[in-house]
Symmetry: C3
Subunit: 352 residues, 3 copies
Amino acid sequence: MSEAERSLSLAELAEAVGGQVEGDASLRILGAAGLEDAGEGMLVRVEHPRYLAAALDGPASALLLGPGLGPVHKPCIRVEQVRLAFIRCLELFAPDERQPAGVHPTAVIGPGAQVDPGCSVGPYAVLGRNVKLAGGVVIHAHAVLHDEVEVGPDSVIYPHAVLYARTTLGARVRVHAGAVIGADGYGYTWTGERHHKIPQNGRVRLEDDVEVGANTTIDRATTGETVIGRGTKVDNLVQVAHNVRTGAHCLLVSQVGIAGSAVLGNGVVLAGQTGVKDHVTIGDGVQAGARAGLWGDQPPGALVSGNPARPHREEMRINAALGRLPELLRRVRALEARLANTPEGDAGEQEL
Amino acid sequence: MSEAERSLSLAELAEAVGGQVEGDASLRILGAAGLEDAGEGMLVRVEHPRYLAAALDGPASALLLGPGLGPVHKPCIRVEQVRLAFIRCLELFAPDERQPAGVHPTAVIGPGAQVDPGCSVGPYAVLGRNVKLAGGVVIHAHAVLHDEVEVGPDSVIYPHAVLYARTTLGARVRVHAGAVIGADGYGYTWTGERHHKIPQNGRVRLEDDVEVGANTTIDRATTGETVIGRGTKVDNLVQVAHNVRTGAHCLLVSQVGIAGSAVLGNGVVLAGQTGVKDHVTIGDGVQAGARAGLWGDQPPGALVSGNPARPHREEMRINAALGRLPELLRRVRALEARLANTPEGDAGEQEL
Amino acid sequence: MSEAERSLSLAELAEAVGGQVEGDASLRILGAAGLEDAGEGMLVRVEHPRYLAAALDGPASALLLGPGLGPVHKPCIRVEQVRLAFIRCLELFAPDERQPAGVHPTAVIGPGAQVDPGCSVGPYAVLGRNVKLAGGVVIHAHAVLHDEVEVGPDSVIYPHAVLYARTTLGARVRVHAGAVIGADGYGYTWTGERHHKIPQNGRVRLEDDVEVGANTTIDRATTGETVIGRGTKVDNLVQVAHNVRTGAHCLLVSQVGIAGSAVLGNGVVLAGQTGVKDHVTIGDGVQAGARAGLWGDQPPGALVSGNPARPHREEMRINAALGRLPELLRRVRALEARLANTPEGDAGEQEL
């Protein structure tokens, strides 16, 4: 059944989200969409009164409404928590992108591999020696799992992802296309003549419910493990260096870079393009604004931004003051000139 | 015929670029090169008198000259627009990297796929269900096109590029190796216990003449489309988040990151490593300097730089002033000390 | 033999590192580890007295000790240079990740290819026309080498790496998974209507002992070569644009971006997320701190940081002063107010 053919009645949707129908409960709904993306047959959410008129005037056929809004002339589902109900609708309309179960005949499976019968292994996937796939694992086309990789139940590896040897994944882990997990950490020692490579003998461990974005790289440890904690979500093009450890439920947004042996607590949020210095400790719940540079340890709960990162309020004040810096220079010059004309004479450096 | 064997006479080149030969028109030219890369048999361009002596002394066999230069003792082609003529020469000498037409026997083609007979599909390429390839499309080795992907005429997909389900490409689109188009947008909602994934049901659409660099990632929309506008050129390692929309003819230079739902007008130029905040609007023709951080809307035509981005002139003044900031501190201290010695006494904080 | 089964006696290890055993020389050692990663059977290094107690109390079975430490009650190996000896131990315990020699039956080898019998070519690797692999080369699964690529002896290409046509690699080069070498440089000329692509006819050359990290991109030259010099080590997710040339033994840390035609001398170190402007020259031995922006030429030996990069000491002073900028504004205001109350009257702009 293609996406266009799937539909649910408003009554079915209301039951799924625990809401009440107002209007025609038999109306067929084809999908859930944002206000700007909605077409005929779609359900849109309205959380705030200021979007209500646009939703009513637009092509959407039904509304998902919070408690205070309406009543309205379009069919709607009334719920307590619009955002969560909308996510539930998105789940119901998610396109079916499942891969057929079973091992594709072109997949190469190394000796000693243990592949649960419930797994799906796509075309041209390559599994090394002693790889273990638990039940429900999906390996997409062209993914490469080197020797002794272990993947927990219901994890999904997208095309072209590469798991180097001995990488271990927990349950329900998702690794997007092109991500490289377990490549050598970047370690060399200068001999006086050349950079001598330090062997990278460790591994990477991704705990349960971790998601790794496209083309992200997470390096193996020199010894021991690089660890991404339970429930942590890593965006695209993120770099995680050797021996980094993150706690549970962190968010590492796109293009973040974390240098070697840095330790992140639980619930840390690093916004896009942020960098973290090697060997620093980032406390639980730290939130760093986009493009921050974290050069030192951060206490739990700190909100920081800027490079070098400072408490966010302080950084905001500095940024505001920066815009006045050229003017400040002029004003100090004026003060100096004025004092130079007073009887006491010389007011210091005048060459500014 | 290998690259080394290809040659054109100076007369043939002159005709192709609409120029006049001065000197031996039968001279065989083996390639076009920059001044530093030229060897015997090569044609070099000279746009400015200061490079003329080097071009004449160097090993190049012929020159491409603008109107005001010369006459010279080496054979040359005289043209009005040196730069465009040189690009035409580069096109004539471009190495032949075409892939043979037809579908390689190792390619996996899903049910319902429509592959125009004029396409080339390389070894181990994987096409999902209902994929459509228009005439002249080239799919290189190992590229993966998931279900219902559509590719317009004369587009080229390089090795290891991944197009997730329902991605659509216009005509003459080029997607370089390792680029990932249509992976899940980065969207979660915190339940109080964990980050709950928000389904990403949308798609990515690349319009005509878009080029996407190696290992770049462009995420699918939550609902609706992420759009890269006609003629926009995206460099390597760029991140484009879900629901971003760019206008036509933008330039997104390497390592740029654009956060979710940001909207770019036409002709926007974002230099390398620049970041754009989510949901902001960047007007037509905005140009942002390298490493800029665009935290807010930018009016059409703005030239900005710095982080947070400011009008470029202002940022330059601030940067110049910044270099004098330590000195400014000393000068203010001197002023305070001086005033402290005047009869009025206290000049404020002295602990600096 | 799996990793867990490999072991060496303390005597064997001592001989390998040129050290002296103190204690039971017949003790079997299973691996070398950092202090935090060590378990029973492991050898840990102790360079500094402050870590000695932890090493003795921990589960490690043996110690690698420098000259001034001890004597201790655990078996140990005494060496002059702990760091180098530890690296030697890591090498001895490095897990065996070799791929079997020979060409996998699923590899596609183009016409004219020359593959040394000592090479290993993995499953689904694709080699174009006239590719040359010297002795000892390892091509992992899914790597793609386009036409006329040449790879020097003992080089290793990891899965999913892509070498575009005419790329040349020296001896002992390592290219990690997902790296893309030789994609088109980012060059366009604006015609007044659209960005016209400038053909990228050149190539990339990696000299001996270069290492390239996962998902890094190194673009081919417009004409001539993009060159990574001998012994230079490139981390993950680095961008090297067309016609860049680096000297020998440089370190380019993760997420660095180098714009077109920039030239780096020997021994240059660019820390993470640093950017280098196009066409600038970076002298021998320049070291740039993380997140630096190098907008201009840098003299040999310069230590720089910040954006725009300044001499590191100067940048440190500016950063310290920045934290006091809001206070400085207040102090200047106070000075102005005070002078405004003196008989001379007006002290300039008061609207701050």
